[in-house]
Amino acid sequence: MTGDQPLACARVRILLEAYADGYLAEDDPTLASAVRRHLAGCADCRRQHEQAISIPFRLRALSSPRPPESLIHGVMRSITPSRVRDRRAWTLLLPEAILSTFILWYLSGLDGLTSIASGIFGDLLGLAGWGSGAGPLPTVPRVDVVLLVALIALTAIAGYHLSILIRLTPGPLTGRRTARE
């Protein structure tokens, strides 16, 4: 029986934490009594028991440096721009939709599309000729200019929109350790 035979030091030391926390007394009172008897007669194990009791207190008393001010600033900086970019990404859809609608309406029909394409090609040839000195500056119908501007604006907005969407993809935080490396 555990209660009769004295415990070896090696066995007691395995049980010290459970004994110190009171769990051993709850789970196996007989074994707890045997540990208590052993501790009464063994100075080495008693010293270990004192260590076992002190460790939780010493752990709770561990000191740490104060968190730096930059910690919270860094977190807020990381999360806030994404909210602004989110809103911007959605609101850019409106001008893109308006420009696309206008362009589609203008280009409605294959005849319209063909005539615009040939008109633009002709305008570009005339511009190239004027640039090389071969011909006068061609007169470009005002409506074609509007279409050209609309196309350029749509391309620019879509490009900017795409860059925002790419930047929205979460990347690694820029930490102090990576900066140090």
């Binding site: 934490e17 769990y23 561990l62 740490s64 440096p65 730096p68 999360i79 102090r176």
Partner: protein, 193 residues
């Protein structure tokens, strides 16, 4: 109301129930998108979180990076928090997972204390260097529950929830970890005689 009743004093150890109610309010507002409430919540958590990260990694820059990752992850996952359940266990589970992932992807920084290598401006000399040294030598799987229970002051149930382990498993791990610490302290004492 359940969250208010169960947002226990461990969020701000020993603080009155009225302040615990304020904390529950902050969590609710932050979950609703209030950035000011979220920032205030961080201010209340930062001491424990940063301290936990520091004790785990023993490097101020790494502790800063880990604490920052934990808080950013908190922000990104606030939508998944159920206000009917206590905030503390949910948060520390997120913190524990972030810590485990952080260690996996980072090159480990030697945690041993050395008079030649310690930069005291960055890593202040601890007041219990023997214990700190012993803690640094513990396997992270043991160090994490030790710090969650004794340093972050979580209950055994909360630690178990954070690490997806049962309470008996957590008890066993804590006892084994403390036995290792005790042996290391005893060896250090023998060496100093």
């Amino acid at each position: 109301m359940h969250a208010e009743a169960t947002l226990d004093a461990s969020l701000m150890s020993g603080v009155s129930s009225s302040q615990a109610l304020v904390a529950a309010q902050l969590v609710r507002q932050a979950t609703g998108g209030d950035l000011d409430a979220f920032e205030e919540l961080l201010r209340r958590l930062q001491r424990r979180v940063y301290g936990f990260a520091y004790q785990h990694l023993r490097d101020v820059d790494e502790a800063h990076d880990l604490a920052q990752e934990i808080f950013v992850k908190l922000y990104r996952n606030l939508g998944r928090y159920d206000p009917e359940r206590p905030f503390e266990p949910w948060f520390w589970k997120l913190a524990a997972n972030t810590t485990i992932n952080y260690r996996r992807k980072r090159v480990p920084v030697p945690a041993e204390l050395s008079d030649e290598t310690v930069d005291e401006a960055k890593t202040p000399r601890p007041h219990d260097p023997v214990l700190v040294q012993a803690l640094a030598q513990l396997d992270p799987a043991y160090r994490l529950p030790i710090l969650l229970h004794y340093y972050a002051d979580l209950s055994l149930e909360q630690v178990g929830h954070s690490l997806n382990l049962s309470v008996p498993a957590i008890k066993s791990r804590l006892h084994r970890a403390r036995a290792q610490l005790r042996n290391a302290l005893a060896e250090a004492e023998e060496g100093s005689r």
